[in-house]
Symmetry: C2
Subunit: 123 residues, 2 copies
Amino acid sequence: MQRDTRQRRAIRTALKEAGHPLSPKELLELARQDVTSLGIATVYRNLRALEEDGWIEAVELPGDPPRYEVAGKGHHHHFHCRKCDRVYEVEGCPGNLSSVTPEGFELESHEFVLYGRCDACAA
Amino acid sequence: MQRDTRQRRAIRTALKEAGHPLSPKELLELARQDVTSLGIATVYRNLRALEEDGWIEAVELPGDPPRYEVAGKGHHHHFHCRKCDRVYEVEGCPGNLSSVTPEGFELESHEFVLYGRCDACAA
DNA sequence: GTCGTTGCAAAGCGTTTGCAGCCTA
DNA sequence: TAGGCTGCAAACGCTTTGCAACGAC
């Protein structure tokens, strides 16, 4: 990742402005508002490059292809709205994980996903 | 799902005997010990049929294709071993989820995955 | 014998890669 | 102007589907 191309700039801007994790396809649509010729392969290549540079982080939710969000937000989890399919960040962590870890198992990390309706869809 | 074929019997047996969630490929390999001619398409078709019948449940972990386990075990979560890649069931639940649910959001359910080393791999 | 089920091969779908041309530095 | 980057199209891996043959009931 050495050059600052129009495509890369559009992708970074879309990720920053969205404020929530984006799928490659969502990202393509958003970034195409700046660079109409943008191809999906370029999106995937830049996602990988940005992730290797630590600029973004993959958000992997069960049963879904990865979404991506700007990195450096500290430990958090996600809320997946069943109605609009959007993913939100949530702060906090239920903790108390060692009590559910089986005997002899070494716990290294955890993931945690909430499902339901976001405030907009619940209304 | 009306007929009790050799293939379906082999698939059910493999799922029951494994005791932990299996991927379609793992299942194919196990069930082929009974029915050598078994094809992957048949595995996928039977997984769907067994799931629709409520006989099995999909176990979706972040970033992984679905695994399948025998249904009816009640609420539980999973531990994914980073070394052997196997998935174990864990009992219990950290609870206390409403405290991390944002204002105005309606919580319907949750998923929860532990990562680390299983007892065999930790030794 | 019927028709649900199977195995194969082809089709889908999301993601990755090869390659020639483009454009940033 | 060099070579990193892009867009296109082909390749890939996993899952689904079409179809003729098979076999459970």
